[in-house]
Symmetry: C2
Subunit: 393 residues, 2 copies
């Protein structure tokens, strides 16, 4: 029998994901100015420092680092991570689990909770990697309404009452793709609704430390009375995505199920990578490093916003206080998927907003990333986009 | 609502896994002689070499290594891995995917293929980590009969006709837990049956390079005409388990589905770890390293076998030509789960065989690992086991 007759699992029936992958192939073309990715800027990546830390940890605990480790994490890192998370949240958490990038945190949480057909509430738009994750778990995705401040608690309650969801997936700070930050009062409301109705919240907060202005906002988790909020964090945006170290923090029972799920997913996250991040935390290298990153990213964000202000009437856009993304809406008759071909011809790329929308639509929207371009590239790329949009109006 | 009311996914209904975890807690006690794990010996772990290679790759390609990478793998490693796999198999393969330990290879293959209730054929006994993986995918596990040479092709065909399985999971070389190696003629038969009936084979072969005597056997994959055999490999037993680098090789369509599955599992395996293994392959460091490991492991295996020969009548055991494990059968009235408590009191640990059996039973069997003990520990531990078994007879 020919292998082309192999039957794949039905979880792939609604997952194609090819459109976005095509864009990333396009980005790889030489000379392309890419506002499409969500990558840290190359100069922000501490290669020298990681090399020194890797040498140090291999010299001091090399045999244990190269041996099998516990699924629960490399013990020194579990310890430093716990106090780091308590600092981040302003409250201590019952349990933490180091994972292979915060993408794995979402995957394990879905594995722990979701049966096919279970309803999951999502923001609209939302991070497409995790939308794909939810689709692979055959979740029933229901979108919650947002305004300029993010999720609307009244609509959230309405959707909870109507759909009895198992999970809410939210990125409350400098959201991907919109850059919006949920205000404090709404964070409390989300936690209260989760606790009242018995719904798990996946609070995905990888951009929290990338704040360029304004005041820090408390985590939803900090308002959690009964343990329904799980906090998903990452060192991908602050140290390095290539190391693949993130974490999930919260209720010990849920973490336990995630840990059992992880045993047969990758046994444990690589010890070397956990040990390097552990040194970052123990040596308190993160605050200075983040300050230096934020300085560069903040300048780029303001530069991009300045160019957006020169765009034609009918173009609106978000004004984030941090993170990696700005979200723009063009006049409704402009289709950003079609516009992308023209942009790519002129060597500029972005991601059409429709790909972030669980229900599709929103064809006149786009996501712009500023962190991974030089000021010169932002100037050139934004002028080209401005020209293209003007010619469509 | 209290978080204790959270409803977990039904995939956990048949997964507890606590027994084996309890054993591993016991092993961690000071002074314990452990024949229970499957760990490489600490002296076999090349901490100095990994440190040098990590320095080298971070100095030469540090920014790319710390940046997001492609799900398809770190490009230099994909290249060197392809030719390494072709060497291993004696045939080239259409596609390879670097993964986070070969445990992830199994997880992604299940993700690509299995719907709940799909039948998967397994050896009895088999590797319990991957049995747990299959249970989490809610597979219907059906065992295939084995004799002293491993899987019996006639029974395999019978079970294929009766159950129409999607997948066969097999460890043909120095099997975990039995140490058995499937002979060449049966390997051809397994490949032929898979191709005739349209069943995917997961050929899990992490111990292949740990051969201490006898001739190399061709991979099942090398007899695969139409692409139904997927080859799962690992560098955990030859370089380091803590680095978490393995791979899956075979049909491009199946690898593609695994890659899409991996996008939302951990995006990609850590570049640093892929780059270190890449250097191992490019600098051709593996053959010497494996020779030196095999010398030590082979001596330990023979030492353990010599002690087993002194065990009372009614004790039988396998005589592997490589790998990490020996499987022993005691007289039927001896329950190795109960015996373990007595062994642990005297500071010796092993894994009762029943935990490797998808259908349970086989209470008089046990798995012994020799790689992670010193000759002195093997002497002491095996004498204690001998005493304990004698007192049960």
């Amino acid at each position: 029998m020919d292998i082309s007759e192999v039957r794949f699992a039905s979880r792939f029936d609604q997952v194609t994901g090819s459109a976005i992958r095509e864009i990333f192939k396009v980005i790889a073309q030489p000379g392309m100015i890419s506002f499409a990715g969500g990558n840290p800027s190359l100069e922000a990546l501490p290669d020298q420092q990681v090399s020194e830390l890797a040498q140090y940890v291999l010299a001091h605990d090399g045999k244990a680092i190269l041996q099998y480790g516990a699924t629960e994490g490399y013990p020194p890192f579990v310890e430093s991570l716990k106090s780091y998370v308590a600092d981040q949240l302003g409250v201590s958490v019952p349990a933490v689990l180091p994972v292979t990038g915060s993408t794995q945190a979402m995957d394990l949480l879905c594995k722990a909770l979701l049966d096919p057909g279970d309803t999951v509430l999502v923001e609209n738009p939302s991070f497409l990697g995790n939308l794909q994750c939810l689709k692979l778990y055959q979740a029933n995705l229901v979108t919650v309404e947002s305004d300029e401040d993010g999720l609307i608690p009244d609509d959230l309650e309405l959707k909870i009452k109507k759909h009895h969801p198992k999970l809410l997936y939210t990125i409350p700070t400098f959201q991907n793709p919109t850059g919006k930050t949920l205000p404090d009062s709404r964070r409390r409301a989300v936690a209260d609704l989760a606790n009242r109705y018995g719904m798990v919240v996946a609070e995905d907060d990888p951009y929290r430390d990338l704040r360029y202005e304004g005041e820090k906002v408390r985590a939803i988790k900090s308002y959690d009375q009964n343990g329904w909020v799980m906090f998903l964090g990452s060192f991908s945006k602050t140290i390095s995505p290539g190391l693949r170290i993130g974490y999930i923090a919260g209720d010990a029972g849920i973490i336990r199920k995630c840990t059992i799920g992880k045993q047969s997913t990758d046994v444990h996250s690589a010890n070397l990578n956990q040990a390097v991040v552990d040194q970052y935390l123990r040596r308190n290298l993160l605050p200075d490093h983040i300050r230096s990153i934020c300085k560069g990213y903040g300048a780029k964000m303001h530069q991009m916003l300045q160019y957006l202000e020169q765009f034609p009437d009918g173009v609106s856009f978000t004004r984030p206080q941090g993170g990696l993304f700005i979200w723009a809406e063009l006049p409704v008759h402009i289709d950003t998927v079609k516009l992308l071909s023209k942009a790519v011809e002129r060597k500029v790329a972005y991601v059409p907003g429709t790909y972030f929308c669980a229900d599709g639509g929103h064809l006149n929207t786009l996501r712009l990333n500023f962190s991974n371009s030089t000021p010169q590239q932002i100037e050139t790329g934004m002028s080209i986009l401005n020209d293209l949009i003007k010619s469509e109006i």
